[in-house]
């Protein structure tokens, strides 16, 4: 479990540029869940995930991961983080060596490393014959998979994904989400998904934390969130398009997916 308590953070303290990024943030991440963190640019999402991953030192409050304080170096092996546009960080000559880079630094045996590379490639849906190919000859969607596989090969217990589908075309995005969430969830990894895409949150997250101007506005299920227009507005977020259509039809029921919306409309609207 990850337990975040009373975390506040200010950039450039005691200078004219002082900026409060987070204020009194508290929430838990339960093992096995997909927790979404939603919020507008500048809401504090990035600062928060970097604190949870131990990349920014705490100023106040506490973050405890499986009974370890976040400052303990051991948490680096528990928490993996995939940044936005992670494919920009690829640098090795082959897909295989890029994915193996992290496990090598962990000092694992060659046999263990190659087993992990293969498993990670399977999890992100990369065919094994791409192992010896340069990552720079792959498509954008495949490069993104290589980058994610590099983190999965570290076998983190907690995985932070920062806007994992930004910039991908609709098909690549759909495939990546389905494959990754399918494979990762099966392996029991707990996921923190940073996103402003309400459709993705509706489909994949069990719970969602909404941030605005460094404060938590809401913690609950996506379904609860989408019935709270005022919170969505304050956070600068849009409910899923299906929910917007139901609102215009004066239907108060909430739909998270197009399947649900179809059923609700069938129930409420007369066939002409």
């Amino acid at each position: 479990m990850i337990s975040v308590k009373d975390v506040s953070y200010t950039y450039m303290t005691s200078t004219p540029f002082e900026k409060l990024a987070l204020k009194n943030i508290s929430f838990d991440v339960t093992d096995g869940e997909v927790l979404a963190i939603a919020g507008h640019t500048g809401s504090g999402k990035s600062t928060l995930i970097q604190i949870v991953a131990g990349l920014i030192d705490l100023q106040s409050g506490s973050v405890v991961i499986d009974d370890l304080p976040v400052a303990d170096k051991k948490i680096r092996r528990l928490v993996g983080i995939v940044f936005q546009y992670p494919e920009h960080q690829l640098f090795e000559e082959t897909v295989e060596s890029d994915i193996a880079f992290g496990p090598k630094n962990f000092g694992l045996s060659d046999a263990e490393i190659s087993a992990r590379v293969e498993e990670a490639m399977r999890q992100v849906g990369l065919p094994a014959e791409l192992k010896k190919v340069s990552p720079f000859e792959l498509s954008g969607g495949q490069r993104r998979r290589v980058a994610i596989a590099g983190i999965l090969a570290l076998k983190p217990k907690y995985l932070i994904l920062d806007e994992p589908t930004a910039g991908l075309d609709p098909l690549a995005k759909e495939n990546l989400l389905k494959e990754i969430f399918g494979a990762i969830k099966k392996s029991g990894v707990t996921i923190i998904l940073v996103s402003h895409n309400m459709e993705d949150i509706a489909r994949f997250a069990n719970r969602v934390v909404v941030l605005a101007q460094g404060k938590i506005l809401f913690v609950g299920t996506p379904r609860e969130l989408f019935s709270q227009n005022e919170i969505l507005n304050r956070a600068g977020l849009e409910p899923p398009a299906v929910t917007q259509i139901l609102r215009k039809l004066n239907i108060t029921e909430n739909a998270l997916t197009i399947d649900e919306a179809e059923k609700i409309i069938l129930k409420h609207c007369p066939r002409k």
Binding site: H40, G167, D169, G236, V242, K248, E262
Partner: protein
């Protein structure tokens, strides 16, 4: 305004040649707003880079305002006609102060300083960023940076502006800002070519090109394209959610008018 004839583009590399564009033919009139959609690798960005001669055809021709882009003598005149805005604002911004960044292109054209001042002020005003002219670009949000990049193009006073996924890295509010900016420029008479993965953005253009495997496989109005729900899904595209929902309801024996595209149209038909 733009005429493309039998365009073919081949990328050469050590691991073999890759045909990125093949058999492309179309023309775009002055003042049109054309969206281009296609999966990653379908050739959209390669096509975009041909409009201002960042890339030249392997074979075939492109004429911008009658100028052949592959004729080196025309290079500067082509670029005076076509401005480009790319996906990542961070890789477009060159100066340490917003107004210097907007002025960068003009300085390279050798325009008189007082003229530059006037054009920069107008351009920043057009994107609602006048208050930020003395700011450092790194203090701005992604949407604001992208507006600065657009101001740079506005200041160049090109007739054509090509946007290559300008909203891909932005949040919903940033996306709305940029799209409304694009529509304003179109209303002022600019010719707009707008590449995007967001179908609701493409749906607001006058005309949509669908690209697949280096070819333009459809060229039609957004209504015709996005209400062809089954075909678009087969090709791997999203359609606006209202069009998809309308199609599903029709299969459940709802009598709905054909070609419903927007949420408002669907709601109207169901009431």
């Amino acid at each position: 305004m733009i005429r493309v004839e039998n365009l073919r583009h081949v990328y050469k590399s050590s691991s073999g040649d890759k045909v990125a564009l093949d058999g492309i033919n179309f023309s775009i009139d002055a003042g049109e707003f054309v969206a281009i959609i296609g999966t990653n690798g379908s050739g959209k960005s390669t096509l975009a880079k041909h409009f201002n001669a960042l890339l030249l055809p392997t074979s075939g021709k492109i004429f911008v305002d009658g100028l052949d882009t592959s004729d080196e003598k025309n290079l500067w005149r082509v670029r005076e006609n076509v401005g480009m805005v790319f996906q990542n604002p961070d890789s477009e911004i060159v100066a340490a102060i917003v107004e210097d960044d907007v002025a960068f292109g003009l300085e390279n054209l050798g325009i008189a300083p007082e003229k530059i001042r006037e054009r920069v002020d107008l351009a920043l005003d057009a994107v609602n960023m006048s208050d930020y002219k003395k700011f450092a670009p790194n203090k701005l949000s992604g949407g604001q940076k992208q507006r600065i990049a657009i101001a740079g193009v506005i200041a160049m006073q090109t007739k054509i502006i090509v946007f290559d996924e300008p909203t891909a890295m932005l949040d919903p509010q940033g996306r709305r800002e940029i799209l409304s900016m694009v529509k304003k420029l179109h209303a002022q008479g600019k010719t707009i070519i707008y590449i995007t993965h967001f179908m609701n953005e493409a749906a607001q253009a006058q005309r949509v090109f669908v690209m697949e495997g280096g070819r333009i496989i459809r060229d039609d109005t957004p209504r015709e394209i996005f209400t062809d729900v089954r075909e678009m899904k087969r090709l791997g595209f999203d359609v606006p959610i209202a069009a998809e929902l309308a199609e599903r309801l029709r299969q459940k024996k709802f009598k709905l008018p054909p070609k419903i595209l927007t949420a408002n149209e669907l709601v109207e038909a169901l009431k």
